[in-house]
Every structure is written in structure tokens, then in C-alpha cells.
């Protein structure tokens, strides 16, 4: 491995937009990163939430690690989780502008599914990511994701989608409810082991 063949090279397009797209412009890449922001960290959780072919997910995670957007960490022998690095966190404005545009121009079918709120005061963030009540742009650790008016109409019903419906802080690992098998002891015990690092959103 460590082969980095992957097309998507706009090599002769010497412009910052093309350079950015070389790194995050491949299919699925942005959605993987979005999930990282929402708190997804594990291979199988990405898989369940994205419906992405396993091989493609492997490929995208590898590439993001190589490019320094994510770091891989063994939370128990042989099992990895993927965390946003400083560089990965710096992608936030791109995700934010895409989300804003998607909300404005690609009409949500029944209100937003997810809202972002300032934990301190409970106020919903405005379009620019600022807290209207406090007049500041909260750090990542102080932002909570919670279900919006359209949440009930979710098209999906996997564990990760369900976990995302429960209010939780951004970047914090999700509380996944195991499908069946109540006795998956050793995995459960690791679920909350990886606490939020000193990740901060550059601007939100």
C-alpha cells in the first residue's frame, strides 16, 4: 500500500481552488470529513452512515491520513479510530459554506435535520456560525448538535443516524447503540475511552 495513485489531479490548474480540490475533491471525501465533525470515528460507523463501499472508504481514510487531515489512532489492539487533525479542522469553512448553500439553494424537504447551538446559553447559531445571544463564535467544544424540525423525516435508519439524533457536542465520539447483541463487552468498554482532544474549530 501507501500507493497514492488516485486520479483527480488537476495538476496543470495552478490555482488555489484546484489545489484544494486535489485534496478533498474526490467522491465521498467531503462526506467522510463531515462525519468526522459530527463525531464519527470508526471504520464501521462511517460504513453504516455513508453506505460507501468498503474499499473506497479504506482508500479515502488512507489518503486523508497521508495528507494530514486525519490521524489514525489504535484505541485497542488492531482497531483504529480516525480523528481530525489541526489541518482537518481547518476545512470547516468549506463544509460550512457547502451546508449553507445546500440549505438555501437545494431546498431541504422539511426543515433542517440538524441544528447547531451554543452549549453555554442554548442559543442556535446563525448562518455564520456565531451565537446571536453572546455575540461570539464559539469554539468547537462549545457547540452542540441537536435534531431540527426535519429530523423525524430522516431517510436513513442506521445506528449512526440514530446516535446523531441525540444532542451531543460536536467532535465528541458518538454513543452508538449496538443493534442487537447486548453482550459485546469489550467494545462497549472502549466506546467512551477516546475523549475529545484539544480540537478547536478555527471558525464556525
Amino acid at each position: 500500500m501507501i500507493v497514492v495513485p488516485l486520479g483527480k489531479d488537476y495538476e496543470l490548474q495552478d490555482c488555489p481552488i484546484a489545489r484544494a480540490l486535489e485534496l478533498v475533491g474526490e467522491r465521498w471525501t467531503i462526506l467522510v470529513i463531515r462525519d468526522c465533525f459530527l463525531g464519527v470515528r470508526r471504520f464501521n460507523d462511517f460504513l453504516a452512515h455513508l453506505d460507501i463501499p468498503r474499499a473506497v472508504l479504506t482508500n479515502r481514510l488512507d489518503r486523508l491520513v497521508i495528507e494530514g487531515m486525519l490521524k489514525r489512532r489504535e484505541y485497542c489492539p488492531g482497531r483504529n479510530e480516525y480523528l481530525l487533525t489541526k489541518r482537518g479542522l481547518s476545512l470547516w469553512p468549506i463544509l460550512h459554506s457547502l451546508a449553507e448553500w445546500g440549505d438555501q439553494e437545494a431546498a431541504p424537504r422539511a426543515g433542517r435535520r440538524r441544528l447547531f447551538a451554543h452549549v453555554e446559553c442554548g442559543t442556535d447559531l446563525d448562518a455564520a456560525g456565531a451565537c446571536p445571544a453572546c455575540g461570539i463564535v464559539p469554539d468547537a467544544g462549545d457547540v452542540e448538535i441537536r435534531p431540527g424540525p426535519g429530523a423525524e423525516l430522516a431517510l436513513r435508519d442506521d445506528q449512526v443516524t440514530r446516535a446523531l439524533l441525540r444532542p451531543h457536542r460536536i467532535l465528541e465520539p458518538l454513543e452508538i447503540t449496538p443493534a442487537r447483541s447486548t453482550r459485546s463487552g469489550h467494545v462497549r468498554s472502549f466506546r467512551r475511552s477516546a475523549q475529545a482532544t484539544e480540537q478547536r474549530l478555527p471558525s464556525m
Copy 2:
């Protein structure tokens, strides 16, 4: 035609980011739109500047017209130009965030190739697209593109790239210098026919 098969459907990802990517997430699409903002309007100019396969360009332009991002206009019988619509202009924040990230994180090899300046006062715009001198965010019609410190090192040398090195207002049609053949009469006469419409950048 008017077939809209094209994959790239993240249909089950009911989230604004996924919806945005369904419309502008395909390969080349963003670069086509970037060129529109720079002033490129014609099939052959996109072709020369992007090194994109003709069939793919046709496909992307068709799709963008269908989705209402561009409008097609016959500037002389049988020849089209492509103009950003209001909806297309609303993509600016996405391009801007990509360009910012590309400049910060995917290091420009020798300074920026293009700078944006406020025409009224000649001041370079800041990262948010505002004029530091006037304290306003100028409309598209008042923004000028001009070569930056890295412009000389351009990797490309097609007509469009050369045209982009000459200062000009954003969204205005480019002054393409015909390669050879000084006597391409009827085309020249149309070059400046299509004046800037009332396009305005929603925020820059």
C-alpha cells in the same frame, strides 16, 4: 439529450452538504464555475484553459444550465456563451472558502497568481473579500482581478491564461488574443458584444 443520468448521487445522505455536492461535486464542475467567475464564457475558452475532455465539458455545461447555475446565450447564430445566473453567483462563498483553504493549506509554490482588488480605490481585498480601505464588501462589478507575485510562474500558457494575466473586472468577458490568424474578423467583432449584465456577487 436533456438526459440527466450522471451518477454522483448521494441520495440517501439527507444533509445539506450532500445535496450541494450532488449539484457541484462532480469532477470539473467547480473549476468550470471558477472560470465563469473569472470571465470565461465560451466553449473553446473553457477547453483551452481547463484541459478538460470536450465531451465532459459539454456534459458539465449542460448540467449546469439544467440546474439553473448557468444560462446559455447565443451571441451569434450557432454560437453560445455561458453566463452565471443568480443561482450560479450564489456559489461564490463555496469557491471563496476553497480558494482560501487552498492558499493556506496547499501552499502556493511562489505567492498568489491572482489578486482581487477594489476598483474604486485600488486596494487589495482581504481574506473575507472586503476592502480594508473602504470597509465594505464590493459588488462583483467593482472587483478587479490582477496578477499577483506568483503570476510569472504560471504552469500554463494558453490564450485564456494569458488573458487572465491582464487586469480586468470580474465577471467581464475576457479579451482573448487570437493565437495567430490576425484576421478572424467576425469573431473579433463579437468579442466585446456581450457586456457585463447586472450580475452581482452575493458576498465576496
